[in-house]
Symmetry: D3
Subunit: 322 residues, 6 copies
Amino acid sequence: MNHEIVLLSGTSHPGLAEAIARELGVRPGIRTITRFPDGEIEVRLDEPVRDREALLIQPTGPPVNDNLMELLTLADACRRSAAARITAVVPYFGYARADKRRGRREPITASLVAQLVEAAGVDRLLTIDLHAPQIEGFFRIPVDSLTAVPTLRQAIRERLPEDAVVVSPDTGRVAMATDYARRLGLPVAILHKQRTSGTETAVTHVVGDVRDRPCLIIDDMISTGGTIARAVEALLGTGARPEIVVAATHGLFVGEAWKTLGHPAIRDVFVTDSVVPAQSDRRLKTVGVGPLVAAAIRRLLGGGSLSELYHEVPDFHRLEPS
Amino acid sequence: MNHEIVLLSGTSHPGLAEAIARELGVRPGIRTITRFPDGEIEVRLDEPVRDREALLIQPTGPPVNDNLMELLTLADACRRSAAARITAVVPYFGYARADKRRGRREPITASLVAQLVEAAGVDRLLTIDLHAPQIEGFFRIPVDSLTAVPTLRQAIRERLPEDAVVVSPDTGRVAMATDYARRLGLPVAILHKQRTSGTETAVTHVVGDVRDRPCLIIDDMISTGGTIARAVEALLGTGARPEIVVAATHGLFVGEAWKTLGHPAIRDVFVTDSVVPAQSDRRLKTVGVGPLVAAAIRRLLGGGSLSELYHEVPDFHRLEPS
Amino acid sequence: MNHEIVLLSGTSHPGLAEAIARELGVRPGIRTITRFPDGEIEVRLDEPVRDREALLIQPTGPPVNDNLMELLTLADACRRSAAARITAVVPYFGYARADKRRGRREPITASLVAQLVEAAGVDRLLTIDLHAPQIEGFFRIPVDSLTAVPTLRQAIRERLPEDAVVVSPDTGRVAMATDYARRLGLPVAILHKQRTSGTETAVTHVVGDVRDRPCLIIDDMISTGGTIARAVEALLGTGARPEIVVAATHGLFVGEAWKTLGHPAIRDVFVTDSVVPAQSDRRLKTVGVGPLVAAAIRRLLGGGSLSELYHEVPDFHRLEPS
Amino acid sequence: MNHEIVLLSGTSHPGLAEAIARELGVRPGIRTITRFPDGEIEVRLDEPVRDREALLIQPTGPPVNDNLMELLTLADACRRSAAARITAVVPYFGYARADKRRGRREPITASLVAQLVEAAGVDRLLTIDLHAPQIEGFFRIPVDSLTAVPTLRQAIRERLPEDAVVVSPDTGRVAMATDYARRLGLPVAILHKQRTSGTETAVTHVVGDVRDRPCLIIDDMISTGGTIARAVEALLGTGARPEIVVAATHGLFVGEAWKTLGHPAIRDVFVTDSVVPAQSDRRLKTVGVGPLVAAAIRRLLGGGSLSELYHEVPDFHRLEPS
Amino acid sequence: MNHEIVLLSGTSHPGLAEAIARELGVRPGIRTITRFPDGEIEVRLDEPVRDREALLIQPTGPPVNDNLMELLTLADACRRSAAARITAVVPYFGYARADKRRGRREPITASLVAQLVEAAGVDRLLTIDLHAPQIEGFFRIPVDSLTAVPTLRQAIRERLPEDAVVVSPDTGRVAMATDYARRLGLPVAILHKQRTSGTETAVTHVVGDVRDRPCLIIDDMISTGGTIARAVEALLGTGARPEIVVAATHGLFVGEAWKTLGHPAIRDVFVTDSVVPAQSDRRLKTVGVGPLVAAAIRRLLGGGSLSELYHEVPDFHRLEPS
Amino acid sequence: MNHEIVLLSGTSHPGLAEAIARELGVRPGIRTITRFPDGEIEVRLDEPVRDREALLIQPTGPPVNDNLMELLTLADACRRSAAARITAVVPYFGYARADKRRGRREPITASLVAQLVEAAGVDRLLTIDLHAPQIEGFFRIPVDSLTAVPTLRQAIRERLPEDAVVVSPDTGRVAMATDYARRLGLPVAILHKQRTSGTETAVTHVVGDVRDRPCLIIDDMISTGGTIARAVEALLGTGARPEIVVAATHGLFVGEAWKTLGHPAIRDVFVTDSVVPAQSDRRLKTVGVGPLVAAAIRRLLGGGSLSELYHEVPDFHRLEPS
């Protein structure tokens, strides 16, 4: 479909929307978003979207509920104004960690959000480094989950000693750590938190050799910084060289994050600008995802293949449960 | 269906939830609602809801998006935990005023919210004095919209001079004003804002005789107080006695509301506790809707008729467009 | 999308369908619609609709159920024959007044009809001067509600004395009256029916100055003529000059309508041809909406903006409940 | 579920609704159905349906569209008033013959009606002798299609000579003819219309021996009487005794039906009262289906098995395409 | 829509997929379909389908459940990879005979399959000689059911004596037999199985004159051959010349089919290659449907009319139940 | 709801269905399941399900597509026969490993299956040790995923040396290994497969101390045995004592599984009877899940809490991405 595109953004990350527009060489669509004194969001599209390809740029970082609702109202406005297709571009997808019930009476909020997004009329979703790949299956619309690993790798490489080890801070990030390692030509180490039977305290084990080596701790996101701080402690306790680089796709840095990340061994913290951080720090290095998102949009519209913007997956899988 | 009931509430109005539980003589259901440092809501039901009748008490006043999302996650948790039926009890229904597009590319947010609520698994809705009766039609599930007019009338009566006039502050509230008037045995006056052709300023006309009479201005909700303030000005300008009582079902009082309502002619402001007001004032009189909601729930569960808790509607209608 | 269009019509208003085709410069699509002796409708499309833009012209005036069913079967035929998109063009939308329950156990038939239309595969709706703007929210597909006010104004202007007043016959038509008044440069008056407390009879009040002035009573539709007749009586009773023009978008004139409208003060009755009137009269002046609908369709297909064919709405809204 | 039942009927067949109520020993539910002067239907339920089992009695014979719309609005009213379950009791299901496209661009109206009925909130359907058994598959809700053959057989038996032959008027009714024949202990003959190659006229062949024997022509419905009249002609032409009984479940008798059925060989015409006939005749014998429907409802509510109220099907089937 | 097409096939009939591709002059799309040791199907699309017109070639002959699941997973892969439209090309539609409940507690599996196909994201269906035309009504997406009769007629003609009779093996195939007869200029005979009252054995009657004439027995499908074998026996018993040709669109030939069809009077058995036969035989003549399917696809894509690829239907229908 | 229950089973695991019935003290429901010679499944329910609680016992082990289709047709039969509620009891849920796209154009078959199950009318799902907890989020109906860990632990305990270590064969099973360890009072070790940069071969690292200790390798399922065989090799290579016990919930043992598991260090292989193994072996010890499933069903029906039949989850979670 060769529809004209209209790039609309919520208020959650104006800088990113502009960067994407600039990369694509298109003018940002004109819309008015107002907050009433009682907090209700009012949206108005100030140019036609009829039979156009509408792209809604809105990461759902904090305040997540407001940003989500803005996205939903933008989608409803586009649908009622007869947009040809509505693509939600949500570089950071909030509530992604709420992807399962853990043996308790809970919602699966990430699945609920998928249903809300579809109920509002969104036709497809573009996101980056989704917390769990299964979240795609919560949707019935097409989902493209890009990876920011190559983007971050570029920036990290020059700050990273040659003998570094890529560290997954828990068993859930092993696939991502392996992807980094493969692209950087480095080995992987894995941290695993474990309680000794009978005791209350969990001890973090380090799998892989980190002795006397600098470390690159990776993660999909940094929220309060606690996971990284515990990883640093475990690595140093096992003899790693106090020269640690941290990389994560999404950098929220809420609460006391920078205090938590205060250990002097942490040299640099690399994140993308997928979301606006609550607070910044001298050690924070931000890499723009505008080019990545723009490249994906160009392929979305031109019919090209997005799969090279996805995570690379090794080919020996699923003969047994993986 | 004779399912055991479980009364669960979000965090938007704990007092109301308790009042309803007390009226019904049931123990409030135990649930944990947490906010992560990044603002995400986490919900856990700490007692079984399987095959129970779940009632979710959650007015969606400010912060509307957070309160709405809490309601939706509670519903998702109940659905996944196999509740027999999920009734959302939303005494104040946020976004109700966004019930139409006004010739522009806009969402119809009240209709969107209806779809979100249904997508989350809610089976029916109980609310009070919905801004427009058409909003029921946005839903495919049953909606019961109760009226708080009899409740407020009780409280107002003793503070209201006998020769008062019930005033609708604009043409949209005439039905409600008529309902008050009928129940109080008083006449009605209507305000209507109108621009003289060619001028910029809108003049408010007063329909009905208010000269030298005290007034009861009614409305479905008070948000910033502006509508009421303009009504007071218009009434006094037409010769009304400076003895004004205000009554509204939902009292938000956001921003500078009490300053806006500062005119000394305003003696009392009656609202229900359907929502927690942002700020209070010496003149504010609050009437509890706990008994009203509890009466409705009792009928919902016992199969009784709710229609006597609705607005009364005169019977000469719809031979011509109404 | 640049699909070839095919313009199909039901049997409810052949003249209008032809007028629209003529305006658009397209040949009406060939279809056969038969009524079996038992009243069942049979529809056959006699030319391909596959991958075409199907426009179904069918106002749902009386007999409303037959006309609605014809529309639904036409849509089903188009869907099963793989039309690219199905637009229902329903200049007069029957059952629009059934837009709410009035405190009683009733259907919301306008909302039901919206669901039926969507169930039959209609992708979007084009209509004129919908009875209540909230009806758009009953739909999940895009709805474009055009206004015939500018079209009627053209015709009215030459028959209207310069000192006329635009009259809204009740509080529900104030927005429409204001739109007429703005476009004609005239003042507005509002009628409001009110029962004096304790009495049975409702008295109609006139808001605004009509003394010795000719009046233009406006409405969205005229069915039996009762509303207009009562308005005429009230206006003359308040001293209006017995020189009254009536304008409504939809003119059904069912039952004894012309007898009801027999008062000699009524000089002209302007309506559009959105629906075929049950009976006509010497005073009836009909303005064609073919050009308006054709203009909208042209924009629908060309991707242009329809918003200038909507009602104009003043910009000071919704700080308080409107 | 042991919900109280409420038996509501549309206006299409008051006598049948009463008969069913009488058989069940329940009071008919009170509702008001009005037709506005413009033909719109207005429905109001005058007693509670909340958490009750609602049974809507409404055959959709002529005027089919009005009767269908009445059914849909009744269902919408029940749904919005929170009925526990809505069962549509539609003894004659209009549009059943429109069950396929015949190589042309047509709707499948019976399938469309199934979707409309589901969209209006109906939970299950009870009907009699559905024109084609596949129609059940158009629905996703449970459908119970009862048979009136045993009911009619009772009445027919005493009027039928012992040496009669059961005649299927075309190849589509063979299963029904076989069911009659089995229950009456009679042989079957089949009529089959066939055009000789090269000619325009179709000749009706008679399969089975009818020479000198009286005939019972059966069908699911009689509309204009044409099929029966042609069958009579073919039977007499093949030497059948001019002593013919006709039996059909649904007797519409529209248009000139009785004139078409004027042949003196036709002695009796048996139908049920599933629908109100347009015209009657001296030879018409009507058998009530009230007891059959009541028996089905009793089982629906008591959880009993309905399958013995269905057609009996021989057991040698489907090893090859049937 | 002028999307590029991508032709993907399951593993059920590689030869047919190639034939269709060859006819269309397009390269077959590259995909990998694997079966895990536990029987699970794994599908991967090895070229982009984004915004392309995806055609999935997969008849659902035996093993029907595996072939159906392959079709569904292919559709899911296309949907998640954002194909513009997904057309299932299912020349033989398995489970078509399960199109009704026969008075028993059964599924309607053909209707269930329609729902599964739609749930997997298929947008339209192309099939050949569907067992019952009502099956189209089980779908809400467009269904095109082509006829292979003209294709088979070409091949049959030269092997068929001039004085042959077209025989419908039961009353369900009369329409198809009539279509053959019309295209071949031959008369029709119909077989009808009937139990004499009181006996256990069903006798097959022959309607139409077959004495001393060669026969063409037609059917939509041959599975175990039983229906054809019984027809041969009945025809010879009535004096038909022992010179019988058989034609069916779908030739499964499962189990002992060729043994069952062993009677020497059967000269030729014509089928299409819509499905891969379980076993073959010297007398089997297969006609390719590649050109027919390709012609349909060309019209699907070019917007042309498919109706001339449908069954022809005589025009004297539905004045009475047909 | 106190509906009578009816326990129906497919043909995939008759023994388990009987065991569950025996535990519950109910008679298995009578149904007929036939396979036609062409492989199509035919289902018939031989006793009423109307308004009953239908439980469909059917693990979807090999042949997965046939077993899945049987489940879907059983559900469709129950739905059309008006069962009050349909619970699919699927102890082993096939296709669970297909829970994500891995950067490629693939289906998410587990999500597709969830949609198929819902499309067929299933109201809730009961399963055991689902491969990934996120799969619950693919469903909109309630899912209860029980754990067989306590059941297996009982059996394992007596065969397990006191100094054993619980081993997770990869990073995906750490949660399950931890659950076993906690319940057995043993430590955990984790295997992690890793490619050294630049080489082709992946080396399996062992995290945790296994030197000279016997091991309990756990997994959710054993299909071909490859994962376990590689784990055994790695453990012995790291100095574990050649005394290994294996435990998995689901034992498929397809292909050459027992040959692959031939290493003499493997003493016992414990699985449940959730699925029928393709082949057995002297070392195989099977523990029945009948009591577990029956306990869950009893709570499902009695409204009791299932959560104690779920996995236990430690409470320090989700402050950071987990």
